[in-house]
Symmetry: C2
Subunit: 489 residues, 2 copies
């Protein structure tokens, strides 16, 4: 349970917000940045995909100092505090529960300047800056922060989640591109831990910022960061490839990496059902393979190069096309070349389109990429046997083993969705992923109230104990972050 | 002081090794893997560059289980234990002190198999495997672990130090390429923390392995690792460039990154004195610029491409040469093209050659690369003013801001080297690096007894307190690792 060690005896009355809370919040951040009315709070209370709660108040501080004061106030009044970025998270880590006794702290006002340092290839940003705003600012210097997501999160949220995205095979995740951090600590409450540096080489002790990456807000509130940024590509080449069979997918990837490792930016697998869902949902989009039927499975490949055609004396699309021709019939059955933005538009419309087919039961998993084909086959067989009425719409980041193994309970199914069946499906899939294939039950989205039980199910006791020791050292009263990473209590 | 909280009351007598120690060590690892004779212990007692101590015993376990038993024995008998990889470290973190009461545990036998996974692009290795052995094994599959050092460390040592090297701008450091880890913990003593995974996407809680990267053996002994490996380049292009002036260096780097960001692998700055030292020390090497004199400063640039000339339709060396021609006179005064292995041979001979000029006072520092020129100028001016008898031989990893700002107290100097003067030099340089330029006093080599005092001098109190809390949670009795990262006690 979130913040269950908060001393609630200071609460005005059991089940009531502390009487001083409102006036004190207003004193700290100002009237217009404290929301008490239901209509004002609503958008902070509903998670991007899962979760819906009731906040006692929503507060919007504008500085590390205000954050520290709010934190101290919440501690003093026994009020659980939940930090929230742009509220695009998918594990309800920044969503309040139904009690109405929690305060949601939105970091949206922590925008400040985006300081782009061309010479050092870094950007210093406030935690409230969104990914889109950041990339708009960077584009002016031909730079980018190349974490490619289907959403527009805040930088603080990206760090707390360690978002990955479609381009991880080339650029890495947020962790790989984080140089410096500023955090307001849970303990001592409100103390600012200044780890702001843009150095790429600095072996001077513990890399403490790692403790705040991917841990969903545990132990501290991120206020600023120094990010490594990259030159915008001058050339891109895309192709939608139909492999000769499932077995060709890995061979093709290895061949691509062996030849185009400098440029390989994305290698996305897409099932037929995903394309069908997109065509169904978006009438303006047509079958890219027409008049051929949609193939069972396809790969969206993107290469990108910093160098121009002139400098390289080479056209990336031509080089890719030549490579595919070379592997025709052996690995490649068909290919659509240079569909560019249209192909990515289809790819990015999949999540939304799927949701119109019925109830989405999403699985953000990863297995070693050498096991992807076997996992998929076994999971499909298991579903056919145990859950034949469910439909699979899987697509994923094949090059790094990630898969959105998304399942839909169709609108038209006779049997209506029930929690027990869905939970047994989750256990069946995750058991396969983690226990049979050594994979991850949360490749990108992180751990939050929505999936915390699986953290405890799949993480070894020794690891949970160690994690709990570390979390206790950082945040002994478990004041910040909704998940307790130690053994279940 | 190392391991100063070990309960030494169990020692047989003050200043004596515990009487049971020898027989118990032999029982655990076998007679041939316990060294008591001075001649056998010597090579483990002398640091690669600094430090020379006396080990009570040297022990060489072959498994995590044996390591755990040795650790428990040392705890029981109040014997400080120091883990050692290939003994190539440069901060004395694996060197015993003079007491002769410490046991050095060499991890050299933890070699096991190097398991290369071509499909997943990973290598699973024992901590005792050396970098050269690893790369020999990987070459068979056209893969490499591209951390380029002038030494041959063990993988465990590389992780504990977070080695960087010349190719960081392209491949990152060890941290960026570490996927999984196995550690024998200090607490509970001997417990194995299994974080062995090859997944690239796995957001399931704390990334606990980070706590053992770059911390010099604190809290645990690394036994195995899963590393991300990379395709061997098929093309490389090198050039030794003379910039038109110091101000051109950063502009040239930005231009190179903007055009060749996909390929830029190294951008090394080298001072004239370094080349002179190499020519002096290695008669087989001649002035690469002859008959021109050696320029004041030069840049060794390397590009590498996974793709072949055929696939790309492009020759990398030609492309680089064309680029340099384009910037001639503006940024480039002169260039030697495609010197390849000879240029790198010169580069890698610098450290050794310098040592023949006198007493080496090495500085492994980093500043933001935009500040490199200003830092260098200010440091040189300071040396001219305060230490005119010293000579500078600086070279470095310009692209990531790293600099080996190596100073020599010349053999022929009237004034002979004294510790007080050397220490005041260190303080002067490090104060400049850290306090004036926001840099690092240890870019690559890590923190050990040799430079621990600077960790405490330059790390903010809040950061030390936080680090100490974390280290105490992991290793409450400070059993493993020679450095205490909390506030000085």
């Amino acid at each position: 349970m979130p913040n269950d060690t908060i001393d609630t005896s200071a609460l005005g009355a059991p089940g009531r917000l502390h009487p001083e809370l409102a006036t004190e919040l207003v004193r700290i951040v100002g009237q217009e940045h404290v929301f008490a009315e239901a209509a004002d709070k609503l958008r902070y209370e509903i998670g991007a995909r899962y979760g819906e709660g009731k906040a006692g108040f929503v507060v919007r501080p504008s500085s590390a100092a205000e954050i520290g004061e709010v934190l101290a106030l919440c501690l003093r009044t026994g009020t659980p505090l939940i930090a929230q970025g742009a509220n695009t998270g998918l594990v309800a880590a920044s969503t309040p529960n139904e009690t109405g006794l929690q305060v949601v702290m939105s970091l949206e006002r922590l925008r400040g300047d985006v300081i782009v340092d061309r010479a050092n290839r870094t950007a210093t940003v406030g935690a409230g800056v969104t990914l889109q705003d950041l990339n708009e600012k960077l584009a002016a210097d031909n730079l980018c922060f190349p974490i490619d997501l289907g959403a527009n999160p805040s930088v603080g949220g990206m760090i707390a989640t360690n978002t990955g995205g479609s381009r991880l095979v080339r650029y890495g995740d947020v962790r790989h591109n984080l140089l410096g951090l500023e955090v307001v600590l849970a303990d001592p409450p409100g103390q600012v831990l200044d780890l702001m540096t843009g150095l790429r080489k600095n072996n001077t002790g513990y890399d403490l910022k790692q403790l705040f990456v991917g841990t969903g807000g545990a132990g501290g509130i991120i206020t600023r960061a120094v990010l490594q940024v990259h030159p915008l590509p001058r050339q891109t080449a895309t192709a939608l490839i139909v492999p000769t069979g499932q077995d060709a997918i890995l061979d093709l990837l290895i061949a691509l990496e062996g030849e185009f490792g400098d440029f390989l930016t994305a290698y996305e697998g897409i099932s037929k059902t995903c394309i069908e869902a997109v065509l169904d949902h978006m009438p303006s989009v047509s079958n890219p393979f027409a008049p051929e039927p949609i193939p069972d499975y396809m790969l969206l490949v993107e290469l990108s190069a910093t160098a121009s055609r002139e400098t390289l004396g080479m056209d990336l699309q031509e080089a890719l096309n030549g490579f595919l021709e070379q592997h025709f019939d052996v690995l490649v059955a068909n290919a659509l070349l240079d569909g560019g933005p249209d192909l990515w538009k289809i790819r990015h419309s999949i999540s939304e389109s799927i949701r119109h087919q019925g109830k989405l039961i999403a699985f953000d998993i990863a297995v070693p990429r050498s096991a992807m084909v076997a996992f998929r086959a076994e999971a499909i067989a298991m579903m056919d046997a145990r859950f034949p009425f469910l439909r699979l719409y899987d697509f994923g980041h094949w090059a790094d083993g990630g898969c959105h193994f998304n399942i839909v309970w169709p609108k038209e199914a006779e049997q209506k969705p029930d929690d027990a069946t869905i939970e047994s499906l989750r256990i069946a899939i995750y058991d396969l992923v983690v226990r049979s294939y050594g994979g991850s039950f949360s490749a990108e989205h992180g751990v939050g109230p929505y999936n915390e039980r699986f953290y405890h199910r799949y993480t070894a006791d020794t690891v949970q104990e160690f994690a709990g020791r570390v979390q206790s050292a950082i945040d002994p009263k478990h004041v910040l972050g909704q998940v307790w990473f130690g053994p279940e209590r």
